[in-house]
């Protein structure tokens, strides 16, 4: 870059946007999925990541957990959970689940990579993130409802028709805000990860980009 030139906005590679089935998008404007890929070194988190978790624990208090549902992004996820039939006080939104664990354990305990990277990004931004083994996925990700006869690998029985899922070109790889199909999780043998963010109405795109950036940067720091 020549001296004095403005640095480019965004980051490379920029997150990819998945599609949402048209009839689902019509029901839920603002629903989206974006993802990015990162080289994986699953296992124990390096010291800088653990230090960051400790710093995050020290910045996170009970008061923030109590008032979390009043903040725009956690509220947006709570509302979406209600709208798809889930009770966010039973099936907790990712950020609320982490807040609860922080209060229960007294700190954000290190679970190793990539979990710690997702924890840092989720607590910082409130965005719902999840990691998949990129080598198992085929094509891009999308949000769609299940078709008759479809099932989630590793789960007995068929999915009830109309269940909201995250899917690749072959079929469902996870329930939306639910279980991941067996074998698609980021495991110790994963070498490349897909970090996916589910966006709902009321969640700004910049927060999604930031969450993916933080997660990827944290993974790369490992």
């Amino acid at each position: 870059m020549p001296p004095g030139a403005a640095s480019p906005v965004g980051w490379e590679p920029s997150p990819r946007q998945g599609w949402v089935a048209p009839h689902i998008a019509a029901e839920f404007p603002g629903l989206g999925i974006a993802w990015t890929e990162a080289e994986a070194r699953p296992g124990k988190s390096p010291e800088p990541v653990r230090r960051r978790l400790r710093d995050l624990s020290n910045r996170f208090y009970g008061g923030q957990a109590i008032h979390m549902r009043e903040r725009p992004i956690p509220w947006a996820y709570r509302v979406f959970f209600r709208q798809i039939g889930l009770d966010p006080d039973r099936n907790r939104t990712p950020v609320e689940q982490l807040a609860l664990q922080r209060l229960r354990d007294g700190a954000f305990r290190s679970q190793g990579l990539p979990d710690d990277a997702l924890t840092v990004a989720t607590v910082e931004t409130g965005i719902a993130l999840r990691a998949f083994d990129a080598e198992r996925l085929q094509g891009g990700l999308c949000i769609r409802d299940s078709a008759p006869g479809e099932s989630l690998p590793g789960r007995p029985g068929e999915l009830e028709q109309g269940t909201l899922t995250i899917a690749d070109e072959r079929g469902p790889v996870a329930l939306l805000f639910g279980d991941t199909a067996s074998g698609y999780d980021a495991g110790r043998e994963s070498r490349r990860l897909t970090i996916a963010a589910v966006q709902v109405k009321g969640v700004p795109q910049i927060a999604v980009d930031e969450a993916l950036w933080i997660a990827t940067a944290t993974l790369n720091s490992g």
Partner: protein, 164 residues
């Protein structure tokens, strides 16, 4: 006549109704109620227990139909209304306690042994006010009543000593 009624019955009229605007409106109401319930839960935290859980509408995520959305909306509305009621009742109790505290502080001898905690008047912390005699039994005999203000929560060291 019966033929006409049968002909105009809604079931026999094959009118396609677009329910999407109705679902969108219900989702908007759910968002509004969720915000209101969130504010009430925060306001009530530590003062009064508020029931905020709903029965899950489905086991797995799906696009709810009108009936499902209505049920979620109605349950949320019920929770909000109950939470408002609980908070109003709690506020009344706290107001009465504050008045009593004022009376105790003004005339401790007329409110012997009355104990009011910070929680009773809707304040955070563990402290409280206790009407008790100065110098123990002597104060009781002499009528030297005063309000003792507790400084707050027990220190962690003291709690650890209790554990030992």
């Amino acid at each position: 006549m019966l033929d006409l009624i049968a002909r105009d019955d809604q079931a026999t009229l094959s009118v396609a109704v677009d329910e999407r605007p109705a679902r969108a409106e219900l989702r908007r109401q759910i968002g509004h109620l969720e915000r209101e319930l969130g504010n009430l839960v925060s306001e009530a935290f530590g003062r009064v227990e508020i029931e905020h859980r709903l029965r899950p509408a489905t086991a797995e995520p799906r696009v709810l139909d009108l009936g499902g959305l209505e049920r979620v909306r109605d349950e949320l509305a019920e929770r909000v209304s109950q939470a408002r009621l609980d908070l109003r009742e709690r506020a009344l109790v706290e107001t009465r306690n504050r008045e009593l505290l004022h009376e105790v502080q003004t005339a401790p001898a007329e409110h012997k042994w009355v104990k009011i905690s910070r929680h009773d008047v809707g304040e955070p912390g563990c402290g409280g006010w206790h009407s008790r005699p100065h110098l123990g039994p002597l104060g009781m005999l002499m009528g030297w009543w005063r309000v003792k203000v507790s400084s707050g929560c027990p220190l962690a060291g003291r709690l650890a000593a209790v554990e030992r």
